[in-house]
Amino acid sequence: MYLTDAPIDPASLTGSVRSADGGVCTFLGVVRDHHLGRATSRIQYEAYGPMAEAEIGKIVESLVLEWPETRVVVRHRVGVLEVGDVAVAIVASAPHRAEAFSACRAAIDRIKKTVPIWKREFHPDGTSDWVDPTADPHTAQSAVPDPDD
């Protein structure tokens, strides 16, 4: 299972590192306090769960085909996250550092591109937006009122 609604502990993900692995590259995507110049108070991550699991699985398979000596572990959080919370963690381990870096970078790039996960940013003023990385920053903001505020 790649998705979790519990806090991600990156240290718990290094169990797959083998004694032949000399390089471990980890990427953590962390909830920031701002985006496109606006303050962020928290973020809701929503996934099309079964499809997101399958898509992350395909990405991990593709990475292992491309870098056969590399192991890749992925966890992506869903639910409501506070600033500083880990949204995604990737651990890539390999005998040498070049593969570990490349596989880790490719993992996060591909996850952002194809995995059906969405995020809604909540602002301190009570509005919220679904983030649209493909759109112009200004047209991407919908300012849907936050029902919780």
Binding site: W118, R120, P133
Partner: protein, 81 residues
């Protein structure tokens, strides 16, 4: 025939629901369903032309024929990571 339609994120906000069972004509393609939905809910068009679609949890093309019982979702721009 019937398909199971899922709405996510901004599309769920527009549709006001997260899923529905929907009757579609035999021989309907993914693009036909999108046309029908946007006719009812023009707000779906705010992300532009037809978004990526998934049938039974796999990305698929707009020409894909729908079948009885398919799980269908149109996907707003993803923003994981």
């Amino acid at each position: 025939m019937r398909v199971h339609l899922l709405y996510f994120a901004t599309f769920r906000d527009v549709a006001g629901r997260d899923s529905e069972e929907r009757q579609v004509a035999g021989g309907s393609r993914v693009s036909d369903l999108w046309r029908e939905l946007t006719g009812e809910m023009p707000g779906l068009l705010r992300t532009g032309s037809m978004p990526p679609a998934a049938v039974n949890r796999e990305y698929t093309g707009s020409d894909t024929l729908l079948a009885e019982g398919d799980e269908v979702a149109f996907l707003p721009p993803v923003a994981g990571g």
